[in-house]
C-alpha cells in the first residue's frame, strides 16, 4: 500500500525523519518495502526570477538573465513560450538532475544532468524547467501540466529550493499490510498505528455534514443476501455539480497513482484510500424503480462494468440492482449503465460491507481484481462502513459539490460499531511472552492503541474498537503489547519447564538416508524433481491408453500443462534429467531420486491417495551397461538387507532384451533396463542410458534381514572352476541356482567366462564358474570336494542337460 508522508501528517504531527518512521513501522509489524522521496530523481532546482528576457532572432528561443538568489545570476537560453521577464520558474542549476523528455516535451526518457551549454552562440548556464522535467503532473501541482515552464507562485524567493514548493520533498512509503490487519489498509488506519508507535495523538478527519430536509421519496434499499452483504448504507445527494476536485485532493490521489476523474468519483476514491472502505456513486437518474436491491445474480445474468467489459454471472456472484436491472458487480466494479457523467445531477452513495470470500471468488472467477475487490477480500469492518459514508458526505459539503439529503438508508444485521469489552488476565498475557511487562507500559501501550485500558489486580479490561476484528483473546493482547513494547525485551530461555523428549529419525528415515549415502558411494548423485509432470511424459514412455500410470491425479489449476499431473512413475523426470545433462555436455553420470508416486483409489479424489516412496536410478555414458545398473540394484538389496532376483521382462520404454523385473521373494518390486532406442532418440540422448525403479514402500512391507554376524569357518574352504556347456537358452541364474541347490557346502557361484562359437556345438554355449565350498564341522578330506563336484555335475546334467566342457 502506497502511503504519502504528507497525507499521514494530516492525522499525526509526525516528529521523526522519514527513515526513522520506516524503522518504527517495521518494529511494530508494518514492513516498509520501499520508501522514497517523491522528487528522488530531481535535485539542484531553485526558484529562478527572470530579470531579462530577449528573443534570439530567427528562433523560438529567448536568452534570459535568471536571478537565483545566493546561487548567482545566470544566462539561460529557453525555448518555452511562457518565459517572460518578472516570471518565477524552476531553474535547474549546472549539475542538477531532471527528467529528460522526448521531442514532445511530455514523454519521460530517463534522467539527465544539466551541463553548461551553448545555443545559437549564446552561453546557457542551467535550464528553466517544465512540470514534466521535474516529475510533477498537473494533479500534483496546479499548472504543472502546461507544456512549457512551470510557473511558481509570486511569493517564491529566488534561489530557494523548489522541492518544498512543489511537494517534491514529500515521501512515499510502500507498506506491506499483513492479512490480520485489514483495518490498516488505509491511510487513516496506518496513521492510528503511527500515532501509537510515536506516542502522539491522532487527529481524526472531519465527519460532520449538514443534512437538508430534502428526501428522495419512496426510495428503498433491500438486501436479500444478508449473508453476503451484512451492511449496506445508501445516501441520496442532490444538486450535484460535477467538476474538478480541489488541488489538495487531486494531489493526494496522484501521489498514490490514482487519476483524478471528477469531484464525485474522486470523493469515492479518496474515502476508500483514506478510510479503507470502498465506495460507489450511482447516477440517481439511471436508478429505476426508486430502489436498490442487493441480491445474488441469476444464472446467465449479464452486466457491463464501467470499463465496458461484459460479464456473464451466476448465483455465486452478488449484484447491486435498481428496481429493474443490475447496476453494479458488488464489491468489484460499478455498472456502465449508472456511471457518473458530466451531467449527473444527483447521486446515490453506497458504502457496504461484503463477505470477503464471496468477493474473492467473484474477482477470481471473472478475472477482475480491482482496488475495491482487494480491500473487500481482505476484509472491511462495519465501523469503517458507517464512518466512510459520513466522511464522504462531509466532503460533499466541504467541496460544495452537492447537497446532502436526509434520505439515508442503513440495512444491517444489527452488528454494533461500538467498542466491545474484553477482559484478560495479565498473568496469561505475560505467560505467552515469557517476560513481565510492567503494568504502566501495558496501560500506556493499550491506551495508545485506543483500547481504553483499565487494570484491576490481574485483570486487564479493554474496549476493543469495532475496527479491530482481529482481537480475540489474550494472545492477541500479548502481541499488541510486545510489538509496541519491543521484541528486544524478549530474553532467550530454553524451555526450562518442558519435559525431556527423545529426538531424531526413526528406523525408516535412517534406512532411507543410508540408502542414499550408499548410492552416493557408488558415484550416484541425488536429484529432486517436481512431484508433478506432464501428460506428454506419459507418452514419452509409450504408456498404453489403459496403463495404470495414466490414472494420474490432475491438478485443477496447474501453472501449465507441463506441470499438471501428479507423478505415477518417476522414470520420465529421470529421463528428462538425463537429457538435460546431455544437452549441457555431461555425457556420463549416475543420478538417483527418492520421491513419491501418487496412486489414487478413485478420481477425482475422495480420500487420501497412496503416496508411495519410490527409488529411481538413471545412469548413462559409455562406461555403463545393464550390469553396472544391476550392481546398483544389488547395493540397494544389500543396504536394505533383502535379496533380489531378476527375470526378463518387456516394458514400453526399455530394450526388449535388456530389461528385467526386480523380485524380492515372489513380489515384483521394480524393474531395470536399458532405455529403448526410440525413447533415447526422442530425448536426443548421445550415449546409452539405463533406468531403474523400485517401490520402496512396497519393499518396506516385505521381510528383511538385519545386520548380523556369522562366525568364520573353522577350516579352510576350497574352490573349483567348472567350464560347462549347455543350450543357449539356459540362463546364468538357472545354473547358479542348480549348483547351489545341489550342494549345501557350495556357498558362492561366480561366472567368470562365457563362450559361444566354433569350438562348441551349434545351439550351445559355454559358461565357466568358480564354485566356492565351505567346510562344515570338520576339514575337507582328500576327495570331499571332488565328491561335491560330481554331485553338482550330475544335478546339472539331470535338470538342465549341462555337460562339463571337454
Amino acid at each position: 500500500m502506497l502511503v504519502p508522508l504528507s497525507w499521514l501528517k494530516e492525522y499525526v504531527d509526525i516528529n521523526v525523519e522519514p527513515r526513522e518512521l520506516e524503522k518504527k513501522l517495521f518494529s511494530c509489524g508494518f514492513e516498509v518495502e520501499e520508501a522514497y522521496e517523491v522528487g528522488k530523481d530531481v535535485s539542484g532546482i531553485v526558484v529562478g526570477l527572470v530579470e531579462e528576457c530577449e528573443p534570439i532572432p530567427e528562433t523560438h528561443l529567448h536568452v534570459c538573465k535568471v536571478n537565483a538568489g545566493a546561487h548567482g545570476t545566470f544566462q539561460v537560453c529557453c525555448g518555452a513560450d511562457n518565459v517572460c521577464t518578472g516570471g518565477k520558474f524552476p531553474l535547474a542549476l549546472v549539475g542538477a538532475s531532471v527528467y529528460a523528455t522526448a521531442k514532445d516535451h511530455k514523454t519521460v526518457e530517463g534522467v539527465m544532468t544539466i551541463k553548461k551549454g551553448k545555443l545559437r552562440g549564446y552561453d546557457s548556464e542551467g535550464m528553466l524547467c517544465s512540470g514534466t522535467e521535474l516529475g510533477v503532473s498537473e494533479d500534483m501541482y496546479e499548472g504543472a501540466g502546461y507544456n512549457g515552464l512551470l510557473v511558481l507562485p509570486a511569493d517564491a524567493v529566488p534561489g530557494a529550493d523548489v522541492k518544498p514548493i512543489l511537494g517534491l520533498d514529500d515521501w512515499i512509503f510502500d507498506v506491506s499490510i499483513t492479512a490480520n490487519r485489514p483495518d490498516c489498509q488505509s491511510i487513516l488506519g496506518l496513521a492510528r498505528e503511527v500515532a501509537a508507535v510515536l506516542d502522539l495523538p491522532l487527529k481524526e478527519p472531519a465527519y460532520d455534514y449538514v443534512e437538508t430536509d430534502v428526501k428522495k421519496d419512496g426510495f428503498t434499499v433491500s438486501v436479500t443476501a444478508l449473508d453476503l452483504c451484512p451492511r449496506y448504507i445508501g445516501h441520496y445527494v442532490y444538486d450535484v455539480k460535477i467538476g474538478p476536485s480541489p488541488a489538495w485532493m487531486k494531489r493526494r490521489l496522484a501521489l498514490v497513482g490514482q487519476a483524478s476523474i471528477s469531484n464525485i468519483v474522486d470523493i469515492t476514491n479518496y474515502v476508500m484510500l483514506e478510510m479503507g472502505q470502498p465506495m460507489h456513486a450511482f447516477d440517481s437518474e439511471y436508478i429505476e424503480g426508486n430502489a436498490i436491491v442487493v441480491r445474488r445474480a441469476g444464472n446467465g445474468e449479464k452486466i457491463t462494468t464501467l470499463d465496458e467489459q461484459e460479464y456473464t454471472l451466476n448465483e455465486n456472484n452478488l449484484v447491486i440492482c435498481d428496481g429493474v436491472k443490475a447496476v453494479a458487480l458488488a464489491g468489484v466494479m460499478g455498472g456502465l449503465n449508472s456511471e457518473i457523467r458530466d451531467t449527473t445531477a444527483a447521486v446515490i452513495f453506497e458504502a457496504a460491507k461484503f463477505a470477503r470470500d464471496n468477493i474473492r471468488k467473484t474477482a477470481r472467477a471473472l478475472g477482475k481484481r480491482t482496488d475495491a475487490s482487494a480491500k473487500f477480500e481482505k476484509g472491511v469492518d462495519e465501523y469503517s462502513t458507517v464512518y466512510a459514508m459520513k466522511r464522504a458526505l462531509h466532503l460533499i459539503d466541504e467541496l460544495g459539490c452537492g447537497k446532502v439529503s436526509s434520505t439515508h438508508v442503513d440495512v444491517n444485521t444489527g452488528n454494533s460499531i461500538d467498542p466491545r469489552e474484553m477482559k484478560v488476565s495479565l498473568r496469561k498475557v505475560n505467560d505467552v511472552l515469557g517476560i513481565d511487562v510492567p503494568e504502566q507500559d501495558v496501560l500506556h501501550i493499550m491506551k495508545n492503541l485506543n483500547f481504553a485500558p483499565v487494570i484491576s489486580g490481574d485483570e486487564l479490561t479493554i474496549q476493543v474498537p469495532a475496527y479491530r476484528e482481529d482481537m480475540d483473546s489474550y494472545p492477541d493482547v500479548a502481541e499488541e503489547v510486545i510489538r509496541m513494547y519491543g521484541y528486544d525485551h524478549v530474553i532467550p530461555t530454553f524451555m526450562p519447564d518442558a519435559l525431556v523428549t527423545t529426538g531424531g529419525m526413526n528406523a525408516k528415515q535412517k534406512s532411507e538416508l543410508k540408502l542414499k549415502k550408499d548410492l552416493c558411494a557408488h558415484g550416484a548423485f541425488e536429484c529432486i524433481h517436481y512431484s508433478f509432470f506432464s501428460p506428454s511424459d506419459l507418452d514419452l514412455i509409450g504408456l498404453k491408453e489403459d496403463a495404470p500410470e495414466r490414472h494420474a491425479i490432475r491438478i485443477l489449476n496447474p501453472i501449465n500443462e507441463e506441470l499438471s499431473l501428479m507423478r505415477t512413475t518417476l522414470a520420465p523426470s529421470m529421463l528428462n534429467a538425463i537429457a538435460r545433462n546431455q544437452k549441457k555436455g555431461n555425457l556420463e553420470g549416475r543420478l538417483f531420486e527418492i520421491g513419491k508416486k501418487f496412486i489414487a483409489k478413485e478420481l477425482p479424489l475422495t480420500e487420501y491417495p497412496d503416496e508411495r516412496e519410490t527409488l529411481c536410478i538413471g545412469i548413462f555414458g559409455e562406461k555403463e551397461n545393464f550390469f553396472t545398473l544391476k550392481g546398483l540394484a544389488e547395493q540397494v538389496a544389500k543396504t536394505l538387507y533383502v535379496k533380489f532376483t531378476y527375470e526378463s521382462v518387456e516394458t514400453t520404454f526399455t530394450h526388449p532384451y535388456q530389461t528385467a523385473n526386480i523380485l524380492c521373494g515372489e513380489t515384483k518390486v521394480g524393474y531395470l533396463g536399458k532405455v529403448a532406442y526410440p525413447v533415447a532418440e526422442k530425448l536426443d540422448l548421445r550415449t546409452d542410458a539405463y533406468i531403474l525403479e523400485i517401490d520402496l514402500k512396497l519393499l518396506n512391507t516385505l521381510p528383511a534381514g538385519k545386520a548380523s554376524f556369522e562366525p568364520l569357518p573353522k577350516f579352510p574352504g576350497e574352490s573349483r572352476d567348472l567350464a560347462l556347456v549347455m543350450d543357449k537358452s539356459v540362463t546364468c541364474g538357472q545354473v547358479e541356482n542348480c549348483i547351489l541347490s545341489a550342494c549345501k557346502n557350495a556357498k558362492r557361484v561366480t561366472l567368470f567366462d562365457k563362450y559361444e562359437g566354433g569350438q562348441i556345438a551349434a545351439g550351445k554355449k559355454s559358461m565357466a564358474f568358480t564354485v566356492e565350498f565351505v567346510a562344515g564341522d570338520e576339514p575337507f578330506g582328500a576327495d570331499t570336494v571332488d565328491g561335491y563336484v560330481k554331485k553338482i555335475l550330475k544335478n546339472l546334467k539331470f535338470h538342465l542337460d549341462i555337460d562339463l566342457r571337454q
Binding site: 492479512a179 502481541e479 518442558a498 529426538g503 558411494a521 541425488e526 501453472i559
Partner: protein, 342 residues
C-alpha cells in the same frame, strides 16, 4: 703358492670390475666359489700335492682366500643390488601431478544436506522427525490451522487444488495437526516435507521444501522460541550469530514473528547479501494459536506451544550463494557435484 693365490685374487678383482647385474655376480661367484667346480674349491684338491708341513699354511691360505673372495662378492652384491634397486625405481618414475584414479562418489542433494544439518541440530534438542503428506485435504492444510474458507490468509498461499477437498500441501504445518491428534504433550517434532504453491520465478519454485517445528508442553513462551532459535542459528551459521524477532502474521500462531538472523556474511555490518540491513530473513515462527490446540483436542489452558517453519531452499541458497532456485531442480551434474557437505 702365494703367487697362485695372488693371481686368483687379481683375477677376481679384475673380473668383478665390469659386472653390472646380480646374475653376472652370481655366475662369477660360482666360477670361483662353487664347492665342486669353483677355482678356489679346486685349490683344495691340490692339498695332496703339498708337503705335509706346509699343508696347514696352505689350508689357511685357501680359507683366507675364500673368506676374502666371499667378502668381495658380498660387497659387490650389495653394491649391485643397490644399483639395481635404484634402476628399478627410476624405471618406475611417475609424474605425480597426473590425475588421480580415485573412485568417484556422488553427493546427496543440496536440499537433503541442508535438511540433515537442520535435523541434526533439532534432534539433539529432542525433536522427533515426522513424515509429511504431499497431498492434503482442506481441513488439515487450512481449517484446522485456523484458516477457515473465507480467510484472506488463504490468498497468501496460491494453492494447487486436486478436487474441492484435496490439494497439494502449501505448508508443512498440516503435520502439526496430524501429530497433535495422535500424540499428547510433551511434543517436540520436526516435519520436513515438500510443499507447493502456484509461483514460478527466480526465487520461487512451484514445489519447494519446508521444515516445520513444533513444541507443545507446559509454559512454553516467546522467550523459549527466541532461546531455541538462537541455538539453532549458532549451530548452522556459526557462533556469535543472533536472531531478531519482528511482528508478522500467520493464522496458526499468535503472536507471530518473522525471524531474522544477523548476516553471516558481514556479521551485521551490512553487505550485498543482507542488502545493507545486517539482517537476513530466515524463518517464520510464533506461539501456537489456541484455536489450533483446541482443534487437536489439546487444552490450551493447560498447554502452550511454539512453532516455526524454515524454507530449506532459501537456507540452502543463502548458504552456498545459489542465485536461482531452478538450479536445485534441474539435476545438472555440474551443480550437484559442487555441493558436497554430505
Amino acid at each position: 703358492m702365494n703367487e697362485k693365490f695372488e693371481s686368483i685374487k687379481n683375477e677376481i678383482l679384475s673380473g668383478i670390475e665390469d659386472l653390472q647385474s646380480s646374475k653376472a655376480v652370481y655366475e662369477l661367484k660360482k666360477h670361483f666359489l662353487d664347492s665342486k667346480s669353483g677355482k678356489i674349491g679346486l685349490l683344495m684338491k691340490e692339498m695332496k700335492n703339498i708337503a705335509p708341513e706346509e699343508r696347514a699354511g696352505f689350508g689357511k691360505g685357501v680359507n683366507d682366500l675364500k673368506e676374502w673372495a666371499l667378502q668381495r662378492f658380498a660387497e659387490l652384491d650389495e653394491k649391485i643390488k643397490a644399483k639395481e634397486l635404484q634402476m628399478r625405481y627410476e624405471q618406475e618414475k611417475i609424474d605425480v601431478t597426473e590425475p588421480a584414479t580415485a573412485k568417484k562418489t556422488g553427493n546427496l542433494h543440496p536440499i537433503t544436506q541442508m535438511r540433515n544439518e537442520i535435523i541434526d541440530v533439532f534432534a539433539g534438542m529432542g525433536f522427533e522427525v515426522m513424515e509429511n503428506k504431499e497431498i492434503e485435504n482442506d481441513y488439515y492444510n487450512f481449517t484446522a490451522l485456523n484458516t477457515p474458507k473465507d480467510h484472506p490468509a488463504r490468498d497468501m498461499q496460491d494453492t494447487f487444488y486436486l478436487s474441492p477437498e484435496f490439494l497439494l500441501a502449501t505448508q508443512t504445518s498440516a503435520a502439526q495437526i496430524h501429530t497433535m491428534e495422535a500424540k499428547k504433550p510433551p511434543i517436540k517434532i520436526l516435519c520436513p516435507g515438500k510443499v507447493f504453491r502456484s509461483d514460478d520465478d527466480a526465487t520461487h519454485s512451484p514445489m519447494f521444501h519446508q521444515m516445520e517445528g513444533l513444541v507443545v508442553d507446559k509454559k512454553i513462551t516467546l522467550c523459549d522460541l527466541k532461546g531455541m532459535l538462537d541455538v539453532f542459528v549458532q549451530k548452522i551459521y556459526g557462533e556469535g550469530t543472533t536472531t531478531r524477532l519482528r511482528p508478522s502474521y500467520f493464522p496458526f500462531t499468535e503472536p507471530s514473528v518473522e525471524v531474522d538472523v544477523s548476516c553471516f556474511e558481514c556479521g551485521g555490518k551490512g553487505c550485498k547479501l543482507c542488502k545493507g540491513t545486517g539482517w537476513i530473513e530466515i524463518l517464520g515462527a510464533g506461539i501456537v494459536n489456541r484455536k489450533v490446540l483446541s482443534n487437536c483436542g489439546i487444552d490450551p489452558d493447560e498447554y502452550s506451544g511454539l512453532a516455526f517453519g524454515i524454507g530449506i531452499e532459501r537456507a540452502t541458497m543463502l548458504k552456498y550463494g545459489i542465485n536461482n532456485i531452478k538450479l536445485l531442480f534441474e539435476s545438472d551434474l555440474k551443480v550437484l557435484d559442487q555441493i558436497d557437505n554430505n
